[in-house]
C-alpha cells in the first residue's frame, strides 16, 4: 500500500501525463466529466459521480473505424478504428470501473471487437472508493463494493483526508506505481487504521441508503412471463422516448453504423444508439417494436434478464445516473420494485 499526499496530486498528474494521456473528472459550467487533463484545468475529485459515465473513454460516442475511397473504379478499405495512445483514468468510481468489466463481456466476446480491445488494453484505471455514497446509489444490489474497488480496477484508491491511499491490483497498475515511485510515499500503521475506519464508515453510510434493500432476487427468471407482464404498459406511459437514460448509463452499449461522405471518398463510423428510439429496429418492411411500451420493455428486459442469461451478470451497476437524469422520474429502481410485485 502506497499513498500520495494531496499537496502532491498536481505533481502526480503532471508526471502521469508525461507518459500517458490522463483523464480526470473536470468541472466545466457546473458539470463534472472525465476529460483529458492539462495543467490549469478545474479538477473535481470530490463530486461523487460524473454527469456522464466514463464509458466514452473505451466506447466513444462516435468512432470512425473505416475509410473508403474509389480509385479508377477500384474500391479500397482502410481500417482506422481503435486507439494506440496509452492512457490513465484517475478517480473513476467502483461502479463505473465495474461497468468496464460488463462492457468487456460484450466487446471482448468472440468475435473480439479489436477497436474496443485496443482501448481497454491501453488504459490503466485508478478507481477511487466512494467516501460519501449518495441516496441515488444502489451499487451494493449488484455486488459492487463502494469501499473496495476491485472490478475493472488496476489501482484501488481511497481518500483518507490528507492523502490518497494507493494499492495496485494488476500488472498494469504495478508498472504505473513503479513510474511514480518518487511521488508515492510508503504508508504506516496510521494510514492502515484510517483506511479501515473509512471503509467502516462507507459501509455504514451504504446501509443507511434508501435502496439498500433493493433485491434483484425478487425478479422472476422466467423470460416469457416477465416479457408478458402487465407492468410494462403502466410504467412506460410517461416515458417520452428520449435516450438520456441509455446515454448516461455506463453499461448501455447499443450502437449504430453509418456511412458518411461521397462516392469516391468517405468513412464509416459507429455511434451510440438507443433502444428507446423509434428507428432503432425499424426496417423497410416493418418494426417489431412499434410503441414506446415495447422499446421501454426491451431496455429493462435487456438489463435484468437477457444480459443476465447470456453473461451471468446484470447490465446495471447501480450508479443512479438514470435516476437523476430521467426527465419524468422513471428509472430502473422503479422497474425492479414493480417487477417484484410491489
Amino acid at each position: 500500500m502506497k499513498q500520495v499526499y494531496k499537496r502532491d496530486l498536481e505533481r502526480l498528474w503532471q508526471t502521469i501525463s508525461e507518459h500517458f494521456e490522463l483523464y480526470l473528472p473536470l468541472e466545466q459550467d457546473g458539470k463534472v466529466n472525465f476529460m483529458p487533463w492539462k495543467q490549469g484545468e478545474n479538477v473535481n475529485i470530490d463530486r461523487l459521480k460524473t454527469d456522464l459515465s466514463p464509458k466514452n473513454i473505451i466506447f466513444p460516442p462516435t468512432e470512425t473505424y473505416l475509410k473508403f475511397r474509389t480509385v479508377n473504379k477500384r474500391l479500397c478499405f482502410e481500417s482506422v478504428g481503435g486507439k494506440n495512445d496509452k492512457y490513465v483514468v484517475f478517480g473513476m468510481r467502483p461502479c463505473d470501473a465495474a461497468s468496464y468489466s460488463i462492457l468487456d463481456k460484450v466487446f471482448l466476446q468472440e468475435p473480439i471487437d479489436r477497436f474496443y480491445e485496443e482501448r481497454r488494453t491501453n488504459g490503466i484505471i485508478i478507481s477511487l472508493a466512494c467516501s460519501e455514497p449518495e441516496e441515488t446509489c444502489f451499487c451494493s444490489s449488484f455486488g459492487i463494493a463502494a469501499d473496495n474497488p476491485v472490478l475493472g480496477t488496476d489501482i484501488a484508491a481511497w481518500d483518507i483526508g490528507e492523502s490518497i491511499l494507493w494499492q495496485p491490483k494488476s500488472e498494469k497498475g504495478k508498472k504505473l506505481t513503479g513510474i511514480l515511485d518518487n511521488i508515492l510515499q510508503d504508508t504506516s500503521e496510521h494510514e492502515i487504521i484510517a483506511l479501515e475506519r473509512l471503509q467502516q464508515s462507507i459501509r455504514e453510510k451504504l446501509a443507511q441508503l434508501p435502496w439498500v434493500d433493493l433485491d434483484l432476487e425478487i425478479i422472476s427468471n422466467n423470460m416469457k412471463e416477465m416479457f408478458e407482464s402487465k407492468v410494462w404498459e403502466e410504467l412506460s406511459k410517461s416515458c417520452l422516448g428520449c435516450g438520456v437514460c441509455t446515454f448516461v448509463c455506463p453499461t448501455c452499449h447499443c450502437f449504430d453504423i453509418q456511412d458518411f461522405g461521397a462516392e469516391r471518398n468517405g468513412e464509416r463510423f459507429r455511434c451510440w444508439d438507443s433502444c428507446m428510439y423509434s428507428d432503432f429496429t425499424r426496417m423497410a418492411h416493418g418494426n417489431p417494436r412499434k410503441t414506446q411500451t415495447e422499446r421501454f420493455r426491451q431496455r429493462f428486459m435487456h438489463k435484468l434478464v437477457y444480459f443476465l442469461n447470456n453473461n451471468g451478470v446484470y447490465a446495471c451497476v447501480g450508479c443512479g445516473r438514470c435516476v437523476e437524469k430521467c426527465p419524468v422520474n422513471m428509472n430502473i429502481v422503479k422497474v425492479i420494485k414493480k417487477l417484484g410485485g410491489d
Binding site: 473505424y65 473505416l66 473508403f68 474509389t70 473504379k73 477500384r74 474500391l75 479500397c76 478499405f77 482502410e78 481500417s79 478504428g81 481503435g82 460484450v106 466487446f107 466476446q109 468475435p111 471487437d113 479489436r114 477497436f115 423470460m223 416469457k224 416479457f227 408478458e228 452499449h253 447499443c254 450502437f255 449504430d256 453504423i257 453509418q258 456511412d259 458518411f260 461522405g261 461521397a262 462516392e263 468517405g266 464509416r268 459507429r270 444508439d273 433502444c275 432503432f280 429496429t281 425499424r282 426496417m283 423497410a284 418492411h285 416493418g286 417489431p288 417494436r289 415495447e294 426491451q298 428486459m301 435487456h302 434478464v305 437477457y306 444480459f307 442469461n309 447470456n310
Partner: protein, 281 residues
C-alpha cells in the same frame, strides 16, 4: 490497399468484392453473383448463413447467401429492392466493387439433423433465397438425404424467383418434387392457385419429414399452423428470421428476440425453441 492483410483485423471491416453477374429474377428481385477481385468466393459458409454487403457511402445491409456452400467459384445473393442499400445495388453494373463481410449466424443442420431425413421446403416469395442454398447443397450430396418436397409460392408467376431451378433443375433430380403455387389465377398459369399455408394442407404430405420454412412473416406464421394441423411437431420445423441488423456479430444490440440475437444465435431457429422466446419478431 485493402487492409485485410493486417493481423487482428476487426470483424466490422469488409473485404472488397466484385459483382460478377446480375440475373434479373422478377421486377424487383435480382441475383447478384459476387467474387473476390482475384476470383473465387470470399469465404466458406454453411447453408442458412448471411453476409453483410456494403456499398459506400450508402451503408451496409445483411443478406442470406443463396448459392450453395458447394459452389466454389462465387457467392450469390437474391436481393429485393426495398431500401437505400438494395436500391443502389440494383442500379450497379457488372464489374462494380462492393464490400462484403461474413459469414454470420448459425445454419440449417445439414450435417446432422437433416441427414437421411425426408425434407419439406416451404418458401414464399424472396424467402426461397436462403432455402435454395440448402436445396442445392443437398442436390450436391443427394445420397445423404431422403426425399425432397419443395412447396414454393409467390403472388404471381412473375414473382417466382430462381425459375431455372424450380422449373427445370430441381424437378429432374431423384426423389425431388416441386409444388408451385401463385396467390391468384392468371392467364397462362396452369399450376396450382392459392396461398402456401392452404397448399400445405391440400398436398397431404407425410408428416414424418423435417420442414424448413422461409417467407414473409405472415406466411411463416400461417405456414407453421398448417404444418401443425397436418401433424408436424414444432421440433420438426426450422425457420429463418430477419430483423434489423447493423454489426452482424451480436454486439450492436438491435436484432434480439428475448436473449437470442438473430445475427449470432439465428437466423435459423427450430420452431419449438422459437416458441420459448418472447413474441417480438
Amino acid at each position: 490497399m485493402s487492409c485485410n492483410c493486417q493481423k487482428n483485423v476487426d470483424s466490422l471491416i469488409p473485404q472488397v468484392a466484385v459483382i460478377d453477374s446480375i440475373r434479373k429474377e422478377t421486377a424487383d428481385v435480382a441475383t447478384f453473383r459476387i467474387i473476390t477481385p482475384a476470383g473465387g468466393k470470399s469465404f466458406d459458409f454453411l447453408p442458412g448463413q448471411c453476409a453483410m454487403i456494403s456499398i459506400p457511402p450508402i451503408g451496409e445491409a445483411i443478406f442470406s447467401i443463396t448459392s450453395s456452400p458447394t459452389e466454389q467459384r462465387f457467392l450469390e445473393f437474391s436481393i429485393k429492392k426495398c431500401g437505400s442499400v438494395t436500391e443502389c445495388l440494383h442500379s450497379m453494373e457488372i464489374g462494380s466493387e462492393v464490400g462484403i463481410r461474413g459469414p454470420y449466424g448459425n445454419h440449417f443442420p445439414v450435417n446432422d439433423v437433416l441427414r437421411g431425413r425426408d425434407l419439406l421446403f416451404i418458401a414464399g416469395g424472396i424467402g426461397l433465397a436462403p432455402l435454395r442454398s440448402v436445396i442445392n447443397y443437398i442436390m450436391d450430396n443427394r445420397r445423404d438425404y431422403g426425399t425432397v418436397d419443395i412447396i414454393y409460392g409467390a403472388r404471381s408467376p412473375e414473382d417466382l424467383v430462381h425459375q431455372e431451378d424450380i422449373m427445370n433443375f430441381w424437378p429432374k433430380q431423384i426423389n425431388t418434387k416441386v409444388h408451385l403455387t401463385v396467390d391468384r389465377a392468371v392467364d397462362g398459369w396452369s399450376g396450382h392457385v392459392g396461398f402456401v399455408p392452404s397448399y400445405i394442407k391440400e398436398l397431404g404430405l407425410a408428416n414424418n419429414k423435417v420442414a424448413l420454412v422461409c417467407g414473409p412473416p405472415i406466411m411463416i406464421k400461417l405456414g407453421l399452423q398448417a404444418l401443425e394441423q397436418v401433424g408436424f411437431k414444432r421440433e420438426q420445423i426450422y425457420t429463418t428470421l430477419e430483423l434489423k441488423m447493423k454489426c452482424g456479430v451480436g454486439k450492436c444490440g438491435r436484432c434480439n428476440i428475448g436473449d437470442k440475437y438473430v445475427c449470432k444465435d439465428g437466423p435459423v431457429f427450430r420452431c419449438d425453441e422459437l416458441q420459448q422466446l418472447p413474441d417480438e419478431y
